[in-house]
Protein backbone atom coordinates (compact mmCIF):
# COMPACT_ATOMS: atom_id res chain seq x y z
CA UNK A 1 0.00 0.00 0.00
CA UNK A 2 2.50 2.61 -1.11
CA UNK A 3 1.75 6.13 -2.15
CA UNK A 4 3.66 5.24 -5.32
CA UNK A 5 0.92 2.78 -6.33
CA UNK A 6 -1.67 5.46 -6.59
CA UNK A 7 0.57 7.81 -8.60
CA UNK A 8 -0.22 6.33 -12.06
CA UNK A 9 -3.91 6.31 -11.17
CA UNK A 10 -3.75 9.98 -10.22
CA UNK A 11 -1.90 10.61 -13.47
CA UNK A 12 -4.73 9.06 -15.44
CA UNK A 13 -7.23 11.27 -13.69
CA UNK A 14 -5.21 14.43 -14.18
CA UNK A 15 -3.87 13.90 -17.70
CA UNK A 16 -6.30 13.46 -20.54
CA UNK A 17 -6.11 10.01 -22.11
CA UNK A 18 -7.98 11.25 -25.10
CA UNK A 19 -5.02 11.23 -27.48
CA UNK A 20 -3.99 7.69 -26.71
CA UNK A 21 -7.45 6.58 -27.76
CA UNK A 22 -7.50 8.19 -31.18
CA UNK A 23 -6.00 7.07 -34.46
CA UNK A 24 -3.17 9.41 -35.28
CA UNK A 25 -1.23 7.52 -37.96
CA UNK A 26 -1.29 4.05 -39.48
CA UNK A 27 1.30 1.40 -38.61
CA UNK A 28 0.85 -1.74 -40.70
CA UNK A 29 -0.68 -0.86 -44.03
CA UNK A 30 -1.92 -2.57 -47.14
CA UNK A 31 -1.62 -0.99 -50.55
CA UNK A 32 -4.00 -0.82 -53.51
CA UNK A 33 -7.16 -2.83 -54.06
CA UNK A 34 -8.67 -2.99 -57.55
CA UNK A 35 -12.22 -4.06 -58.35
CA UNK A 36 -14.21 -4.51 -61.55
CA UNK A 37 -17.70 -5.59 -62.56
CA UNK A 38 -17.78 -8.40 -65.05
CA UNK A 39 -20.46 -10.47 -66.75
CA UNK A 40 -21.39 -12.71 -63.82
CA UNK A 41 -20.53 -10.44 -60.92
CA UNK A 42 -17.57 -8.70 -59.31
CA UNK A 43 -13.83 -9.38 -59.27
CA UNK A 44 -11.48 -7.93 -56.67
CA UNK A 45 -7.68 -8.07 -56.62
CA UNK A 46 -5.20 -7.13 -53.93
CA UNK A 47 -1.69 -8.17 -53.02
CA UNK A 48 -0.86 -9.80 -49.73
CA UNK A 49 1.57 -7.22 -48.43
CA UNK A 50 1.48 -5.54 -45.01
CA UNK A 51 4.05 -2.74 -44.91
CA UNK A 52 5.47 -1.39 -41.69
CA UNK A 53 6.38 2.06 -42.88
CA UNK A 54 8.90 1.55 -45.67
CA UNK A 55 9.61 -2.06 -44.69
CA UNK A 56 7.71 -4.78 -46.55
CA UNK A 57 7.14 -6.60 -43.27
CA UNK A 58 4.28 -9.04 -43.75
CA UNK A 59 3.73 -10.96 -46.94
CA UNK A 60 0.68 -13.13 -46.31
CA UNK A 61 -1.92 -10.61 -45.26
CA UNK A 62 -5.37 -11.46 -46.61
CA UNK A 63 -6.89 -8.17 -47.62
CA UNK A 64 -9.93 -9.62 -49.38
CA UNK A 65 -12.74 -11.10 -47.29
CA UNK A 66 -16.30 -12.19 -47.85
CA UNK A 67 -19.17 -10.50 -46.01
CA UNK A 68 -22.32 -12.57 -45.66
CA UNK A 69 -23.63 -14.34 -48.75
CA UNK A 70 -23.79 -11.41 -51.10
CA UNK A 71 -20.68 -9.25 -50.65
CA UNK A 72 -16.89 -9.14 -50.65
CA UNK A 73 -14.67 -6.45 -49.21
CA UNK A 74 -11.10 -5.42 -49.95
CA UNK A 75 -9.16 -3.08 -47.70
CA UNK A 76 -6.10 -0.91 -47.98
CA UNK A 77 -4.65 1.15 -45.16
CA UNK A 78 -4.25 0.15 -41.54
CA UNK A 79 -4.64 -3.61 -41.22
CA UNK A 80 -5.73 -3.57 -37.58
CA UNK A 81 -8.55 -1.17 -38.47
CA UNK A 82 -9.56 -3.55 -41.23
CA UNK A 83 -9.74 -6.32 -38.65
CA UNK A 84 -11.95 -4.06 -36.54
CA UNK A 85 -14.18 -3.39 -39.54
CA UNK A 86 -14.47 -7.12 -40.11
CA UNK A 87 -15.66 -7.51 -36.51
CA UNK A 88 -18.35 -4.85 -37.11
CA UNK A 89 -19.41 -6.51 -40.35
CA UNK A 90 -19.45 -10.01 -38.92
CA UNK A 91 -21.65 -8.79 -36.10
CA UNK A 92 -23.92 -7.00 -38.57
CA UNK A 93 -24.30 -10.13 -40.66
CA UNK A 94 -24.84 -12.23 -37.55
CA UNK A 95 -27.76 -10.10 -36.38
CA UNK A 96 -29.11 -10.06 -39.91
CA UNK A 97 -29.03 -13.86 -39.99
CA UNK A 98 -30.60 -14.11 -36.55
CA UNK A 99 -33.80 -12.55 -37.90
CA UNK A 100 -34.09 -15.76 -39.92
CA UNK A 101 -36.83 -14.25 -42.02
CA UNK A 102 -35.74 -14.65 -45.60
CA UNK A 103 -34.47 -11.07 -45.82
CA UNK A 104 -30.76 -10.40 -46.03
CA UNK A 105 -28.47 -7.40 -46.31
CA UNK A 106 -27.18 -6.95 -49.82
CA UNK A 107 -23.98 -5.24 -50.98
CA UNK A 108 -25.70 -1.87 -51.29
CA UNK A 109 -26.83 -2.01 -47.68
CA UNK A 110 -23.40 -3.12 -46.43
CA UNK A 111 -21.72 -0.37 -48.42
CA UNK A 112 -24.02 2.24 -46.95
CA UNK A 113 -23.57 0.91 -43.45
CA UNK A 114 -19.80 1.12 -43.85
CA UNK A 115 -20.11 4.66 -45.15
CA UNK A 116 -22.01 5.64 -42.02
CA UNK A 117 -19.42 4.00 -39.78
CA UNK A 118 -16.45 5.58 -41.56
CA UNK A 119 -17.99 9.02 -41.70
CA UNK A 120 -19.08 8.99 -38.09
CA UNK A 121 -15.61 7.97 -36.96
CA UNK A 122 -14.11 10.75 -39.06
CA UNK A 123 -16.41 13.25 -37.43
CA UNK A 124 -15.13 12.17 -34.03
CA UNK A 125 -11.56 12.69 -35.25
CA UNK A 126 -10.90 9.00 -34.71
CA UNK A 127 -10.95 7.50 -38.19
CA UNK A 128 -10.61 3.93 -39.27
CA UNK A 129 -7.59 4.44 -41.45
CA UNK A 130 -8.75 2.47 -44.48
CA UNK A 131 -9.91 2.75 -48.04
CA UNK A 132 -12.36 -0.02 -48.74
CA UNK A 133 -13.75 -1.63 -51.85
CA UNK A 134 -17.13 -3.30 -51.43
CA UNK A 135 -18.66 -5.44 -54.15
CA UNK A 136 -21.44 -7.95 -54.49
CA UNK A 137 -24.40 -9.36 -56.35
CA UNK A 138 -27.94 -9.73 -55.09
CA UNK A 139 -31.00 -10.71 -57.09
CA UNK A 140 -29.06 -10.22 -60.27
CA UNK A 141 -28.07 -6.68 -59.36
CA UNK A 142 -24.31 -6.06 -59.33
CA UNK A 143 -22.91 -3.48 -56.94
CA UNK A 144 -19.36 -2.15 -56.73
CA UNK A 145 -18.36 0.78 -54.56
CA UNK A 146 -15.70 2.28 -52.40
CA UNK A 147 -15.53 4.14 -49.04
CA UNK A 148 -12.54 5.72 -47.47
CA UNK A 149 -11.45 7.00 -44.08
CA UNK A 150 -13.03 10.40 -44.52
CA UNK A 151 -16.34 8.94 -45.60
CA UNK A 152 -16.10 9.69 -49.32
CA UNK A 153 -18.06 6.98 -51.10
CA UNK A 154 -19.16 6.25 -54.64
CA UNK A 155 -20.00 3.40 -56.97
CA UNK A 156 -18.70 2.62 -60.41
CA UNK A 157 -18.02 -0.16 -62.87
CA UNK A 158 -14.42 -0.22 -61.73
CA UNK A 159 -12.90 1.16 -58.53
CA UNK A 160 -9.52 1.19 -56.86
CA UNK A 161 -7.82 2.49 -53.74
CA UNK A 162 -4.58 4.38 -53.23
CA UNK A 163 -2.09 3.98 -56.05
CA UNK A 164 -4.62 1.92 -57.91
CA UNK A 165 -6.55 5.10 -58.61
CA UNK A 166 -3.57 6.57 -60.45
CA UNK A 167 -2.15 3.50 -62.15
CA UNK A 168 -4.98 1.02 -62.55
CA UNK A 169 -8.04 3.17 -63.28
CA UNK A 170 -6.63 4.70 -66.49
CA UNK A 171 -6.07 1.18 -67.81
CA UNK A 172 -9.58 0.21 -66.79
CA UNK A 173 -11.09 3.30 -68.35
CA UNK A 174 -9.58 2.26 -71.65
CA UNK A 175 -10.06 -1.47 -71.52
CA UNK A 176 -13.06 -2.21 -69.28
CA UNK A 177 -16.32 -3.06 -71.01
CA UNK A 178 -19.62 -4.63 -70.06
CA UNK A 179 -19.81 -8.42 -70.14
CA UNK A 180 -16.19 -9.28 -69.59
CA UNK A 181 -15.81 -13.00 -69.11
CA UNK A 182 -14.13 -14.31 -66.01
CA UNK A 183 -10.87 -14.99 -67.86
CA UNK A 184 -10.89 -11.55 -69.48
CA UNK A 185 -11.59 -9.94 -66.13
CA UNK A 186 -8.73 -11.73 -64.43
CA UNK A 187 -6.37 -10.82 -67.26
CA UNK A 188 -7.39 -7.19 -66.97
CA UNK A 189 -6.85 -7.20 -63.23
CA UNK A 190 -3.48 -8.87 -63.64
CA UNK A 191 -2.46 -6.17 -66.08
CA UNK A 192 -3.36 -3.55 -63.45
CA UNK A 193 -1.62 -5.44 -60.66
CA UNK A 194 1.53 -5.85 -62.75
CA UNK A 195 1.80 -2.12 -63.32
CA UNK A 196 1.25 -1.58 -59.60
CA UNK A 197 3.95 -4.13 -58.83
CA UNK A 198 6.44 -2.30 -61.03
CA UNK A 199 5.60 1.18 -59.89
CA UNK A 200 4.23 1.02 -56.30
CA UNK A 201 7.04 0.52 -53.83
CA UNK A 202 4.73 -1.00 -51.22
CA UNK A 203 3.50 -3.71 -53.58
CA UNK A 204 4.64 -7.31 -53.16
CA UNK A 205 4.55 -10.01 -55.78
CA UNK A 206 1.91 -12.21 -54.25
CA UNK A 207 -1.68 -11.47 -55.03
CA UNK A 208 -5.16 -12.81 -54.49
CA UNK A 209 -8.24 -12.54 -56.62
CA UNK A 210 -11.74 -12.74 -55.17
CA UNK A 211 -14.90 -13.31 -57.12
CA UNK A 212 -18.54 -12.98 -56.22
CA UNK A 213 -21.47 -14.07 -58.33
CA UNK A 214 -25.10 -14.82 -57.61
CA UNK A 215 -23.95 -18.33 -56.68
CA UNK A 216 -21.47 -17.26 -54.03
CA UNK A 217 -18.02 -16.10 -53.06
CA UNK A 218 -14.64 -17.49 -54.05
CA UNK A 219 -11.34 -16.14 -52.71
CA UNK A 220 -8.69 -17.78 -54.87
CA UNK A 221 -5.33 -19.03 -53.55
CA UNK A 222 -2.43 -16.58 -53.82
CA UNK A 223 -0.06 -16.58 -56.77
CA UNK A 224 2.67 -14.42 -58.30
CA UNK A 225 2.89 -12.43 -61.47
CA UNK A 226 5.63 -12.87 -64.04
CA UNK A 227 7.76 -9.77 -64.35
CA UNK A 228 10.43 -8.65 -66.77
CA UNK A 229 13.35 -6.52 -65.67
CA UNK A 230 15.77 -7.01 -68.58
CA UNK A 231 15.15 -3.68 -70.20
CA UNK A 232 18.19 -2.08 -71.74
CA UNK A 233 17.77 1.00 -69.66
CA UNK A 234 18.17 -1.12 -66.53
CA UNK A 235 21.52 -2.58 -67.69
CA UNK A 236 24.42 -0.38 -66.56
CA UNK A 237 21.99 2.19 -65.28
CA UNK A 238 24.72 4.55 -64.08
CA UNK A 239 26.64 4.70 -67.35
CA UNK A 240 25.59 8.28 -68.06
CA UNK A 241 25.87 9.65 -64.52
CA UNK A 242 29.35 10.61 -63.35
CA UNK A 243 30.04 9.88 -59.72
CA UNK A 244 27.11 7.53 -59.44
CA UNK A 245 27.32 3.87 -58.51
Amino acid sequence: MNVADSAPAMNNLLASNADSQRTLYPYVTGTSVVGIKYKDGILLAADMGGSYGSTLRYKTVERLKSVGKHSIIGASGEISDFQEIMRYLDELILYDNMWDDGNSLGPKEVHNYLTRVMYNRRNKFNPLWNSLVLGGVKNGQKHLGTVNMIGVHYEDNHVATGFGNHLARPILRDEWHENLTFEEGVKLLEKCMRVLLYRDRSAVNKLQIARITEDGVAVFPPYSLKTFWNFNAFQNPTVGAEGSW
Binding site: G102, N103, L105, K108, N112, Y113, R116, N139
Partner: protein, 275 residues
Protein backbone atom coordinates in the same frame (compact mmCIF):
# COMPACT_ATOMS: atom_id res chain seq x y z
CA UNK B 1 -65.83 -9.40 -19.08
CA UNK B 2 -66.40 -8.57 -15.46
CA UNK B 3 -64.28 -6.81 -12.88
CA UNK B 4 -62.25 -9.08 -10.67
CA UNK B 5 -59.43 -8.91 -8.19
CA UNK B 6 -56.71 -9.71 -10.75
CA UNK B 7 -57.33 -6.93 -13.21
CA UNK B 8 -55.78 -3.91 -11.55
CA UNK B 9 -52.18 -4.46 -12.65
CA UNK B 10 -50.84 -5.57 -15.98
CA UNK B 11 -48.21 -7.51 -14.07
CA UNK B 12 -50.76 -9.59 -12.16
CA UNK B 13 -51.67 -13.00 -13.50
CA UNK B 14 -55.10 -14.41 -12.86
CA UNK B 15 -55.26 -17.98 -11.53
CA UNK B 16 -56.50 -19.02 -14.95
CA UNK B 17 -53.29 -17.71 -16.48
CA UNK B 18 -54.71 -14.54 -17.99
CA UNK B 19 -53.49 -10.97 -17.97
CA UNK B 20 -56.73 -9.04 -17.74
CA UNK B 21 -55.24 -5.62 -18.46
CA UNK B 22 -53.95 -6.92 -21.77
CA UNK B 23 -57.35 -8.38 -22.57
CA UNK B 24 -59.03 -5.10 -21.68
CA UNK B 25 -56.64 -3.36 -24.05
CA UNK B 26 -57.79 -5.72 -26.80
CA UNK B 27 -61.37 -4.77 -25.92
CA UNK B 28 -60.46 -1.18 -26.70
CA UNK B 29 -59.51 -2.31 -30.18
CA UNK B 30 -62.82 -4.11 -30.61
CA UNK B 31 -64.71 -0.95 -29.66
CA UNK B 32 -62.90 1.28 -32.14
CA UNK B 33 -64.32 1.90 -35.61
CA UNK B 34 -63.56 -0.68 -38.24
CA UNK B 35 -60.34 -0.99 -40.18
CA UNK B 36 -59.79 -3.50 -42.97
CA UNK B 37 -56.75 -4.73 -44.83
CA UNK B 38 -56.34 -7.04 -47.79
CA UNK B 39 -53.51 -8.02 -50.03
CA UNK B 40 -52.75 -9.61 -53.36
CA UNK B 41 -49.32 -10.67 -54.59
CA UNK B 42 -48.46 -7.13 -55.61
CA UNK B 43 -50.71 -4.74 -53.70
CA UNK B 44 -52.05 -4.09 -50.22
CA UNK B 45 -55.21 -2.07 -49.60
CA UNK B 46 -56.12 -0.55 -46.24
CA UNK B 47 -59.58 0.82 -45.64
CA UNK B 48 -61.30 2.25 -42.60
CA UNK B 49 -64.51 3.78 -41.43
CA UNK B 50 -63.99 7.39 -40.52
CA UNK B 51 -67.03 8.66 -38.70
CA UNK B 52 -66.85 12.17 -37.33
CA UNK B 53 -68.18 12.48 -33.80
CA UNK B 54 -70.49 15.30 -34.84
CA UNK B 55 -71.36 17.24 -37.97
CA UNK B 56 -69.21 20.08 -36.79
CA UNK B 57 -66.01 18.13 -36.31
CA UNK B 58 -63.42 16.63 -38.58
CA UNK B 59 -62.68 12.94 -38.97
CA UNK B 60 -60.03 11.22 -37.00
CA UNK B 61 -57.05 10.18 -39.00
CA UNK B 62 -56.79 6.39 -38.81
CA UNK B 63 -54.50 5.59 -41.71
CA UNK B 64 -50.89 6.69 -41.58
CA UNK B 65 -48.14 6.52 -44.15
CA UNK B 66 -45.08 5.06 -42.47
CA UNK B 67 -42.77 5.03 -45.48
CA UNK B 68 -43.11 4.85 -49.23
CA UNK B 69 -43.55 1.12 -48.96
CA UNK B 70 -45.48 0.76 -45.68
CA UNK B 71 -48.70 2.14 -44.24
CA UNK B 72 -50.82 1.36 -41.19
CA UNK B 73 -54.51 1.48 -40.34
CA UNK B 74 -55.45 1.62 -36.67
CA UNK B 75 -58.44 0.80 -34.50
CA UNK B 76 -58.83 1.63 -30.85
CA UNK B 77 -57.19 4.48 -28.95
CA UNK B 78 -56.17 6.64 -31.87
CA UNK B 79 -53.78 8.64 -29.72
CA UNK B 80 -51.81 5.48 -28.95
CA UNK B 81 -51.96 4.71 -32.65
CA UNK B 82 -50.46 8.04 -33.57
CA UNK B 83 -47.59 7.58 -31.16
CA UNK B 84 -46.85 4.12 -32.55
CA UNK B 85 -47.01 5.46 -36.09
CA UNK B 86 -44.37 7.98 -35.16
CA UNK B 87 -42.20 5.15 -33.81
CA UNK B 88 -42.70 3.15 -37.01
CA UNK B 89 -41.81 6.13 -39.17
CA UNK B 90 -38.69 6.69 -37.12
CA UNK B 91 -37.56 3.09 -37.45
CA UNK B 92 -38.09 3.15 -41.21
CA UNK B 93 -36.25 6.37 -41.76
CA UNK B 94 -33.31 5.35 -39.58
CA UNK B 95 -32.98 2.11 -41.50
CA UNK B 96 -33.13 3.96 -44.82
CA UNK B 97 -30.45 6.35 -43.66
CA UNK B 98 -28.08 3.63 -42.53
CA UNK B 99 -28.65 1.10 -45.30
CA UNK B 100 -30.10 3.17 -48.14
CA UNK B 101 -32.81 0.62 -48.62
CA UNK B 102 -36.30 -0.04 -47.31
CA UNK B 103 -36.90 -1.73 -43.99
CA UNK B 104 -38.52 -5.13 -44.63
CA UNK B 105 -42.10 -5.10 -43.32
CA UNK B 106 -41.61 -8.31 -41.36
CA UNK B 107 -38.79 -6.79 -39.34
CA UNK B 108 -40.68 -3.57 -38.60
CA UNK B 109 -43.63 -5.59 -37.38
CA UNK B 110 -41.46 -7.64 -35.02
CA UNK B 111 -39.92 -4.49 -33.60
CA UNK B 112 -43.39 -3.06 -33.04
CA UNK B 113 -44.58 -6.26 -31.41
CA UNK B 114 -41.59 -6.33 -29.07
CA UNK B 115 -42.30 -2.73 -28.12
CA UNK B 116 -45.89 -3.65 -27.27
CA UNK B 117 -44.75 -6.64 -25.26
CA UNK B 118 -42.67 -4.44 -22.99
CA UNK B 119 -45.84 -2.70 -21.88
CA UNK B 120 -47.30 -6.01 -20.78
CA UNK B 121 -44.45 -6.70 -18.42
CA UNK B 122 -43.83 -3.44 -16.58
CA UNK B 123 -45.88 -2.48 -13.57
CA UNK B 124 -45.56 1.24 -14.32
CA UNK B 125 -46.80 0.93 -17.90
CA UNK B 126 -50.05 0.04 -19.60
CA UNK B 127 -50.54 -1.79 -22.88
CA UNK B 128 -51.12 0.25 -26.02
CA UNK B 129 -54.87 0.31 -26.61
CA UNK B 130 -54.66 0.10 -30.37
CA UNK B 131 -54.58 -2.61 -32.99
CA UNK B 132 -52.60 -1.92 -36.14
CA UNK B 133 -53.00 -3.34 -39.59
CA UNK B 134 -49.58 -2.94 -41.15
CA UNK B 135 -49.50 -3.24 -44.92
CA UNK B 136 -46.36 -3.03 -46.98
CA UNK B 137 -44.12 -4.26 -49.70
CA UNK B 138 -40.65 -5.68 -49.59
CA UNK B 139 -38.35 -8.02 -51.47
CA UNK B 140 -40.47 -11.05 -50.67
CA UNK B 141 -43.73 -9.50 -51.88
CA UNK B 142 -46.79 -7.78 -50.44
CA UNK B 143 -47.56 -8.32 -46.75
CA UNK B 144 -50.38 -7.57 -44.35
CA UNK B 145 -49.83 -7.95 -40.62
CA UNK B 146 -51.99 -7.37 -37.59
CA UNK B 147 -50.28 -6.11 -34.43
CA UNK B 148 -52.11 -6.67 -31.17
CA UNK B 149 -51.82 -4.78 -27.86
CA UNK B 150 -50.66 -8.09 -26.41
CA UNK B 151 -47.46 -7.96 -28.44
CA UNK B 152 -48.59 -10.70 -30.79
CA UNK B 153 -48.52 -10.26 -34.51
CA UNK B 154 -49.93 -12.34 -37.32
CA UNK B 155 -49.67 -12.24 -41.06
CA UNK B 156 -52.91 -12.22 -43.01
CA UNK B 157 -54.21 -12.42 -46.52
CA UNK B 158 -57.07 -10.22 -45.36
CA UNK B 159 -58.28 -9.04 -41.98
CA UNK B 160 -60.62 -6.64 -40.25
CA UNK B 161 -60.53 -5.13 -36.78
CA UNK B 162 -62.77 -2.84 -34.75
CA UNK B 163 -66.52 -2.75 -34.31
CA UNK B 164 -68.63 -4.97 -36.60
CA UNK B 165 -65.43 -6.29 -38.12
CA UNK B 166 -66.87 -9.80 -38.07
CA UNK B 167 -69.20 -8.86 -40.91
CA UNK B 168 -66.25 -7.73 -42.99
CA UNK B 169 -64.29 -10.84 -42.07
CA UNK B 170 -67.13 -13.05 -43.23
CA UNK B 171 -67.14 -11.28 -46.57
CA UNK B 172 -63.37 -11.49 -46.89
CA UNK B 173 -63.32 -15.17 -46.01
CA UNK B 174 -65.53 -15.81 -48.98
CA UNK B 175 -63.48 -13.70 -51.36
CA UNK B 176 -59.84 -13.94 -50.32
CA UNK B 177 -58.88 -16.86 -52.51
CA UNK B 178 -59.71 -14.80 -55.52
CA UNK B 179 -57.55 -11.82 -54.70
CA UNK B 180 -55.86 -11.31 -58.00
CA UNK B 181 -53.17 -8.86 -58.85
CA UNK B 182 -55.68 -6.42 -60.34
CA UNK B 183 -55.57 -3.51 -57.96
CA UNK B 184 -59.03 -2.24 -58.91
CA UNK B 185 -60.57 -5.54 -57.84
CA UNK B 186 -58.70 -5.36 -54.57
CA UNK B 187 -60.03 -1.87 -53.87
CA UNK B 188 -63.51 -3.04 -54.82
CA UNK B 189 -63.32 -5.89 -52.34
CA UNK B 190 -62.11 -3.47 -49.67
CA UNK B 191 -65.09 -1.18 -50.29
CA UNK B 192 -67.53 -4.06 -50.17
CA UNK B 193 -65.99 -5.37 -46.98
CA UNK B 194 -66.18 -1.88 -45.49
CA UNK B 195 -69.82 -1.65 -46.44
CA UNK B 196 -70.48 -4.84 -44.49
CA UNK B 197 -69.36 -3.14 -41.30
CA UNK B 198 -71.69 -0.23 -41.88
CA UNK B 199 -74.68 -2.52 -41.36
CA UNK B 200 -76.95 -0.85 -43.84
CA UNK B 201 -75.71 2.70 -43.61
CA UNK B 202 -74.92 4.24 -46.98
CA UNK B 203 -71.28 4.02 -47.98
CA UNK B 204 -69.95 7.37 -49.12
CA UNK B 205 -66.45 8.72 -49.45
CA UNK B 206 -67.01 11.09 -46.55
CA UNK B 207 -67.14 8.30 -44.00
CA UNK B 208 -64.35 6.11 -45.26
CA UNK B 209 -60.68 6.31 -46.12
CA UNK B 210 -58.87 4.04 -48.56
CA UNK B 211 -55.13 3.70 -48.98
CA UNK B 212 -53.06 1.50 -51.24
CA UNK B 213 -49.47 0.44 -51.74
CA UNK B 214 -48.14 -1.74 -54.53
CA UNK B 215 -45.28 -2.64 -56.81
CA UNK B 216 -44.22 0.63 -58.41
CA UNK B 217 -46.83 2.51 -56.39
CA UNK B 218 -45.85 4.30 -53.20
CA UNK B 219 -48.19 4.17 -50.24
CA UNK B 220 -50.81 6.87 -50.56
CA UNK B 221 -54.33 7.64 -49.41
CA UNK B 222 -56.84 7.92 -52.23
CA UNK B 223 -58.53 11.29 -52.37
CA UNK B 224 -62.21 11.69 -51.74
CA UNK B 225 -63.28 12.18 -55.36
CA UNK B 226 -61.52 9.04 -56.49
CA UNK B 227 -63.10 7.04 -53.69
CA UNK B 228 -66.56 8.37 -54.41
CA UNK B 229 -66.12 7.61 -58.11
CA UNK B 230 -65.12 4.05 -57.25
CA UNK B 231 -68.08 3.64 -54.91
CA UNK B 232 -70.45 4.89 -57.57
CA UNK B 233 -68.88 2.65 -60.19
CA UNK B 234 -69.17 -0.46 -58.06
CA UNK B 235 -72.59 0.25 -56.63
CA UNK B 236 -74.09 1.04 -60.01
CA UNK B 237 -72.91 -2.31 -61.31
CA UNK B 238 -74.55 -3.75 -58.18
CA UNK B 239 -72.72 -7.07 -58.05
CA UNK B 240 -73.16 -7.81 -54.36
CA UNK B 241 -76.65 -8.54 -52.91
CA UNK B 242 -76.02 -7.26 -49.33
CA UNK B 243 -76.96 -3.76 -50.54
CA UNK B 244 -80.69 -4.51 -50.02
CA UNK B 245 -80.95 -2.84 -46.60
CA UNK B 246 -79.50 0.35 -48.05
CA UNK B 247 -82.93 1.32 -49.50
CA UNK B 248 -84.62 2.84 -46.41
CA UNK B 249 -81.58 4.42 -44.65
CA UNK B 250 -81.06 6.42 -47.84
CA UNK B 251 -83.80 8.86 -46.95
CA UNK B 252 -82.42 9.64 -43.50
CA UNK B 253 -78.83 10.04 -44.66
CA UNK B 254 -79.95 12.23 -47.57
CA UNK B 255 -81.40 14.71 -45.12
CA UNK B 256 -77.95 15.38 -43.70
CA UNK B 257 -76.28 16.96 -46.74
CA UNK B 258 -79.28 19.29 -47.12
CA UNK B 259 -78.68 21.93 -44.41
CA UNK B 260 -74.92 21.42 -44.70
CA UNK B 261 -74.92 22.20 -48.42
CA UNK B 262 -73.36 25.62 -48.72
CA UNK B 263 -73.47 25.60 -52.51
CA UNK B 264 -71.02 22.84 -53.32
CA UNK B 265 -73.27 20.56 -55.35
CA UNK B 266 -70.92 17.66 -56.11
CA UNK B 267 -70.08 16.84 -52.47
CA UNK B 268 -72.21 13.83 -51.61
CA UNK B 269 -72.82 13.80 -47.89
CA UNK B 270 -69.97 16.18 -47.12
CA UNK B 271 -69.77 17.58 -43.60
CA UNK B 272 -69.09 21.28 -42.97
CA UNK B 273 -65.44 20.67 -42.13
CA UNK B 274 -64.77 19.26 -45.58
CA UNK B 275 -66.06 22.25 -47.51
Amino acid sequence: MFRNQYDTDVTTWSPAGRLFQVEYAMEAVKQGSAAIGLRSKTHVVLACVNKASSELSSHQKKIFKVDDHIGVAIAGLTADGRVLSRYLRNECINYSYTYESSLPVGRLVVQLADKAQVCTQRSWKRPYGVGLLVGGLDESGAHLYYNCPSGNYFEYQAFAIGSRSQAAKTYLERKFEGFMDAREDLIKDALFALRETLQGEKLTSSICTIAIVGVGEAFHILDQETVQALIDEFEIVGEEPPADEAATPDQSSDAEPGPADQGTPSDQGATPMDI
